[in-house]
């Protein structure tokens, strides 16, 4: 696991940087900074998890990237463009955001209208809009829902519509801000599937704020925020082997990791099982 992750990091590091932060600080009140002097680089095509305890500033940090909040200090470069008054428009076109609660993201009276709203904002030709509508609703398996009202959709379906409307605008960077936290387990697995396909396509840089152990494990790289700074930049497997860091970020290991750990404590040495079936086969062949 660690090996493959390292490999991906290595490959990704040869890609150009799409997000660079140098010495970035922010505070609503200058006397109470939320974080200070953060520097980091994210390469094109990487899938990065941003983790940390509630209130540590994860959502605030990503909102600085497209100037939804103004940084107090430092420099931000997105897709080669310096974040400033002049470039905000182009930078915002490069960044798509999917939030916790899809209800807050709905604008249209139907799924179709909702997806087209963003495309109209981009002033696309009607033919191109129709084309994208078809491509992205097919991709997310919501083509049959086009004339539905948001109220008729399940939580998982709504979140897929929200993702489709963002992806249809073809941003290079997609930010998921705890996008799975309102979803049931079935829909969470669907979302993970979508993310994995996005990574396979290689077009997207994914920045994902999450507390979910399975989501973190699926990503390439973890950035951990703690005490107003960047506490770690490592692979998911390294994170889940680091008790001190898990503690600082209020995180827990995935169930299967916890079970393997507890089994070791009682003298049964076993690798982390991929499934309950594998565990039984290993323990009692």
């Amino acid at each position: 696991m660690i090996e493959t992750n390292r490999l991906q990091n290595l490959e990704a590091s040869e890609q150009p940087a799409v997000i660079t932060l140098s010495g970035v600080s922010f505070g609503y009140d200058p006397k109470q900074p939320i974080f200070q002097d953060i520097s980091l680089t994210i390469a094109q095509g990487q899938w990065v998890s941003l983790v940390g305890a509630n209130g540590c500033g994860k959502s605030t940090l990503v909102k600085l990237l497209n100037a939804l909040l103004p940084k107090s200090d430092g420099e931000i470069v997105v897709c080669g463009l310096q974040l400033n008054e002049e470039n905000i428009g182009s930078i915002r076109q490069n960044i798509g955001m999917v939030f916790q609660n899809p209800d807050n993201q709905f604008i249209g009276a139907t799924v179709e209208e909702d997806i087209l709203f963003g495309l109209e904002g981009l002033c696309l030709e009607p033919i191109e809009m129709g084309h994208r509508l078809q491509v992205y609703t097919d991709k997310l398996g919501i083509a049959h829902l086009l004339d539905k009202h948001p109220g008729e959709l399940s939580g998982g379906q709504k979140q897929r519509v929200a993702i489709a409307s963002i992806l249809a605008m073809e941003p290079g960077i997609v930010i998921f801000d705890e996008a799975s936290s309102m979803l049931d387990e079935g829909s969470r697995n669907e979302l993970l599937d979508i993310l994995q396909r996005m990574r396979a396509e290689g077009k997207y840089t994914i920045l994902m704020i999450t507390h979910d152990a399975d989501e973190i494990l699926a990503s390439d790289r973890v950035l951990a925020l703690y005490g107003g700074g960047l506490a770690a930049d490592m692979t998911p497997a390294e994170l889940f082997s680091n008790d001190d860091l898990l503690d600082k970020c209020n995180l827990r290991m995935p169930f299967s990791w916890q079970l393997a750990r507890e089994l070791q404590k009682v003298g049964i040495n076993t690798d982390v099982p991929a499934s309950e079936k594998e565990l039984i086969e290993k323990l009692w062949p």
């Binding site: 509630n54 209130g55 705890e178 169930f255 507890e262 009682v266 049964i268 040495n269 323990l283």
Partner: protein, 298 residues
């Protein structure tokens, strides 16, 4: 019983063209001082059910008994003010529940409204903050300047400040980080076991509630598809799949071990620690090639 429903149906916009049945013929009972989990796919009627518990909604058919108050379909309902203090409801989105300019004012609103003095209300607010693990310095803050997780805890604190006998929570742990989630669950467990309150929780994350829940209610399309103890649910979790819910990991691992040894009537081990210790006790009873092989290597 803290709550008892007899043949309850709830229909939105009854007697109109757009009527929609949300709950259908539900019988259920929730014992006083128990922890009850409610699960169900989106649209199965969970939120409608919760709103019957303190009289926000009144049954279209059947009888709802909450503590000593009875709500009967078609009859004029008794005074509900007292009931609303005794049954605290925490909704899914905390931001929809907070409205004052400081956290302290928000937390005092309920107690003041139910006739407590300002001093008493402030004391309650502080106690609820401490119970929720929130720093008292946040009392002066604007609730909308809190992080999502802090806001959720503050919303729960505002309900606890009313000192309710029954606490009903809709997805209380969504958006909390895993440690805060575990803390909240153990706080709710203490409110039940030490103070005798009845705790009812709607959840998508059954894994975190399974180790402490006494009973479960599983809804499917407005009907109660399952009602029983955690042990009964653990003996056949396939009912969850039939209700459109993925079987949680703790139940999957427990079933795998229990099925392997054909265990029946065994108390389910639903935490990694309890399960590991149980596996160790099984392993010491039987020959265990894996352990011996590993030990030789080391």
């Amino acid at each position: 019983m803290a709550i008892e429903l007899q043949q309850v149906s709830y229909i939105y916009s009854d007697r109109s063209l757009w009527k929609q049945t949300a709950l259908h013929n539900i019988d259920l009972s929730i014992p006083q001082g128990s922890i009850v989990g409610i699960a169900g796919a989106t649209g199965s009627g969970k939120s409608t059910l919760l709103q019957l518990f303190n009289g926000i909604l009144k049954p279209t058919e059947g009888t709802v008994k909450v503590l000593d108050v009875t709500l009967q379909a078609g009859e004029k309902s008794p005074k509900l003010l007292a009931l609303r203090r005794r049954v605290g409801l925490v909704f899914q989105f905390p931001e929809q529940q907070m409205f004052e300019e400081t956290v302290e004012k928000d937390l005092c609103f309920g107690p003041l409204n139910f006739g407590m003095s300002l001093e008493e209300a402030k004391e309650r607010a502080r106690k609820a903050m401490v119970d929720m693990g929130l720093d008292l310095s946040l009392l002066e803050r604007n609730p909308f300047r809190l992080s999502g997780g802090q806001m959720r805890k503050a919303a729960i604190a505002s309900v606890l400040a009313m000192d309710p006998e029954i606490v009903v929570l809709d997805e209380p742990t969504a958006t909390l980080d895993p440690v805060s989630r575990a803390e909240l669950i153990s706080l709710l467990e203490r409110l039940c076991r030490e103070q005798g309150r009845t705790i009812i929780i709607v959840t998508h994350r059954m894994d975190e509630l399974l180790p402490i829940a006494d009973r479960w209610i599983v809804l499917k399309e407005g009907q109660a598809a399952f009602q029983g103890s955690t042990q009964e649910l653990a003996s056949d979790p396939s009912i969850l799949e039939r209700c459109g819910i993925a079987i949680p990991q703790s139940l999957r691992y427990w079933r795998a071990v229990a099925d392997r040894f054909r265990l029946e009537g065994e108390v389910p081990r639903l935490t990694p620690k309890a399960l590991a210790e149980f596996i160790a006790s099984l392993s010491s009873d039987i020959s265990h090639p894996e352990i011996e092989k590993r030990d030789n290597h080391e």
